[in-house]
Symmetry: C2
């Protein structure tokens, strides 16, 4: 190895692996080293540029903690998160989209028809739809994680004025597969720009805006888990999402509704006098090829 050259270093790297190495890990490392080395050769990367990269990674690590996931953000703005989604998105059913860094585990339960708006400012929006299988069968007992920003563009974790789980909930569909909740229309917002990723966006002349969106994770027995988000058709950033999350089939509409028409059977029924808005969006899951528990990572028509 003392005669390694810039042309042979990838091969030298591979020769260091032990014979017992997990084949999938070895393959991932091999492809990563191949592309990392090719990147350095093709750019003729200098020591100064290498050091700038190391400093960038150290700064990205330094700003990260349990609530701030700057490496996820870095992956997001490079389109890597969206690419991983697309590689494993089912051909049928609702497209998946980026999870983002603000999902919280163990959000409190909310009954179908419950309210997330509470006393927060903003117009009342009713979001509803059916969780169903690709063949149209409604999926009762499906669990939906719901999260979004307030009208100020901030998630609960970003805004000390909000309760920890404000605009976060989990809902279980009834036999009809229906979900429904009232909330506010979240604003477009910028990804966090006060860290190294923000500096990188600035240096490459990129804006940090995402179109307004509602996040969902949907899980139902015998079906592939769906991580997705939906976007309003009239959003100014629909074609320039900083994290590449928008898909054609994830576009919905806030449809204005006249005063006095708010429906019965919801937590806010009888309390909404003025105009309100309605979003209808069905969440369509693909069935697993086998529903056996040990095969839950198997997809219906994507690998």
């Amino acid at each position: 190895m003392r005669n390694v050259t810039s042309d042979t270093i990838t091969e030298a790297f591979l020769k260091t692996f032990g014979s017992e190495t997990n084949p999938r890990l070895a393959f991932i490392m091999e492809r990563f080293a191949h592309h990392l080395h090719a990147f350095a050769r093709e750019t003729n990367l200098t020591h100064e540029e290498w050091m700038r990269g190391i400093q960038f990674l150290e700064a990205t690590g330094a700003i990260s903690d349990d609530k701030r996931h700057e490496f996820v953000l870095l992956s997001d703005i490079f389109g890597l998160s969206a690419l991983v989604d697309m590689l494993h998105s089912p051909e049928d059913g609702t497209s998946s989209s980026v999870l983002g860094p603000f999902h919280q585990e163990n959000a409190p339960p909310l009954a179908v028809g419950g309210d997330l708006k509470k006393d927060n400012p903003g117009d009342v929006v009713l979001v509803e739809g059916i969780v169903k299988s690709v063949d149209g069968t409604p999926l009762g007992g499906a669990k939906i994680d719901i999260w979004q920003t307030a009208t100020n563009g901030l998630y609960a974790a970003q805004d000390e004025a909000m309760a920890p789980f404000e605009f976060h909930a989990t809902m279980v569909t009834g036999e009809d597969g229906r979900y429904a909740f009232t909330t506010v229309r979240p604003a477009p917002y910028t990804v966090p720009t006060d860290g190294p990723v923000g500096e990188l966006l600035e240096a490459t002349g990129r804006h940090p805006w995402r179109p307004s969106h509602l996040h969902f994770i949907v899980a139902a027995n015998g079906h592939r888990r769906l991580v997705t988000e939906v976007f309003p058709r009239d959003d100014a950033y629909l074609d320039e999402d900083a994290v590449f999350g928008v898909r054609d089939d994830l576009i919905m509409e806030y449809v204005p509704q006249p005063p006095g028409t708010f429906p019965a059977g919801l937590e806010l029924s009888g309390k909404v006098d003025g105009p309100w808005w309605k979003v209808s969006f069905d969440l369509v899951l693909c069935a697993l090829k086998t529903a056996a528990p040990e095969k839950t990572l198997e997809n219906c028509n994507a690998d």
Copy 2:
């Protein structure tokens, strides 16, 4: 961009750049995204593997601080640091090699012939040579940064029992270009294995050993700055350095010397009775094409 696919995301990424972006930065980002996306596609990277990668980067950031540079180590064990060295190593003169994470700025000055061993355990070694230009001209007034481990394989920054700059010094050559110092023979050592990089080495069946070595940075007016390290010919790890730093021309020898032969004119002269060891190694710098101060990044025969 709402119709971006796994095949078009690299192009979509590039379209986000502002027109004022520094062309070199844009080129580096373009090549990085190209290879990052190709890596994800070729491995069909899963969400779980992506998340494992994010967790790895977060753990690498969490263990890093002013003294612990785990991202440098990561670059080292992937061969990226060595590759950057090789891309910019001069065709003539002493090869460059990995800086490593343990260089300290502002090490105390040591006169030519001075001693680094002090009261530390180990045999006395005299390291000496000439700093010269490729054409053979001795380079007086050259500044040499010298650093190494103690015989326990630890640098001062890793061992609280050592003074902060133990085995670190800076030396300026006289008119004859000569440098000389006494020290101990450092042991082979393992790179730090108590962090994420150590886990990665373990998972891929790689050992963490480096051959014993002495580090130098050499700077002389009108010449290209040299960052390098030298390795003993009889070291067991010469052909399997965990960070790919060994080059043929960086191999030297510890030559045993009989008792009573220690030379005059050194700080330890008259104090060494038993056997001692001698290392002779000339450090050969290439001249810059122009010595103008604003061109100091220009190399003599490499770009």
